[in-house]
Symmetry: C3
């Protein structure tokens, strides 16, 4: 069985749906680790989270970890235990940047923690670097940090998939020698 | 022979050229269904349309369907008839949003109509979700709607291809089990 | 051995690292052809270039060709000679657009020059067309030009790869018949 998977893709590419299906596959239940920081007044995000929770239903145990993903993984891990789904890494990175945290160190710690997990873990992340260079410097910093994180977590995971229009295309392992 | 194909890709990724080649392959002629609403004064779009029509030439029968794609598909369908090329779904979605139409219902109807077609149909669409989150809310709504539509139409079509630098990479069917 | 490769991908997708590894593979040394125009006061770009040069080290011979890539390729080419890495084509296109050059002619010349090379050459470029349509007209022109160039150079090269989260996915040649 897979041990760690990274699913990346654009907005509304079906990443979360694919990840949820994969997380439930082994035993019909899974742990959902949400990273979204819910800010007062952000109704767009709050509505999205509520929609997602309602759709997932009772097969899921819900955790909230906007900052300390390593602790959430350690606390939910057990040999033979249910898969954990982290949704998503780009919101986590947003939180790290807003808190002016040492995000490179945090990503390295998460990659190391991933390697120590006994139960499966699936990470959802976003492709954010295939548009025009953003005009504002903060967006450029976010884009660079998210790309750096995606590379580090892709290296840490056994499998990497790119979601396109709801379908998973395999990135790692890849049968073509570069 | 293929029955329905979705070709997605970024701006200037060669989607339309690939779709045109594929549409002409069976019998050397095809029906072009343009969805672009031509607004007074939008010279950028008008020039692009004129360039595309001139390049395509006499093998094509041209239809214009900025809103009612289902009617255009029904009206141009016949067993053994020429393929239809719809270019493109993202402009159609733009028209639906501007008209404040029930776009989810319209997409579901198009997916159902696609399944009923006798002659082949090829849809061109755009990847618009792999950049930074847009700052304005309308752009975010469009991005969400376009992604949702791409998933629904990918599910409805027999094949899905992602154009990268003019080359088609296959998304559906996919030989890798997720 | 490969003769010409195009590596495309989003920002921070690992394109340059992959390209460098590939360039050094045949003989442990290679020629780096930088296209970045360094403008007075652009500390963001200057720092990035310095970081990259420091990381690459002594195995590289460094050239600078912000405009005349054909001359740089001709001048560094020899049968059995080391690979050349051009990093990157999108910065080169930026320079052409700022200089109001005939960029279509320049791209065609580069494609033709690529076909005449004896030693291997690797081009790094960017996917810039998978986000929302940019609001300003200059960004749209750049996006169109970059996409057109990527198609032309992909056709000119023996291999095309898309970098996703640090991993290369093969675009050309492709075993799936479209």
């Amino acid at each position: 069985m897979y041990k760690s998977i990274l699913i990346t893709g654009g907005a509304r590419s079906g990443k979360s749906t694919l990840a949820e299906r994969k997380a439930l596959a082994p035993c019909g239940r899974a742990v959902y680790i949400a990273t979204a920081e819910i800010w007062p007044g952000d109704t767009e995000m709050a509505e999205r989270i509520a929609r997602h929770q309602a759709r997932r239903g009772a097969d899921w145990h819900n955790l909230h970890a906007p900052r300390d993903l390593c602790a959430a993984l350690r606390g939910s891990d057990s040999a033979g235990g249910p898969p954990r789904l982290v949704d998503c890494l780009t919101l986590w990175m947003t939180n790290l940047l807003l808190a002016e945290a040492d995000w490179r160190a945090e990503v390295r710690a998460l990659a190391a923690e991933t390697a120590r997990q006994e139960a499966p873990v699936i990470f959802v992340t976003n492709e954010v670097g295939m548009g025009i260079v953003p005009e504002n410097a903060l967006a450029r910093r976010f884009r660079d940090a998210a790309g750096w994180m995606n590379q580090a977590m892709a290296e840490a995971c056994d499998e990497v998939w790119l979601a396109v229009a709801g379908y998973p295309t395999r990135v790692k392992p890849n049968e073509h020698t570069f």
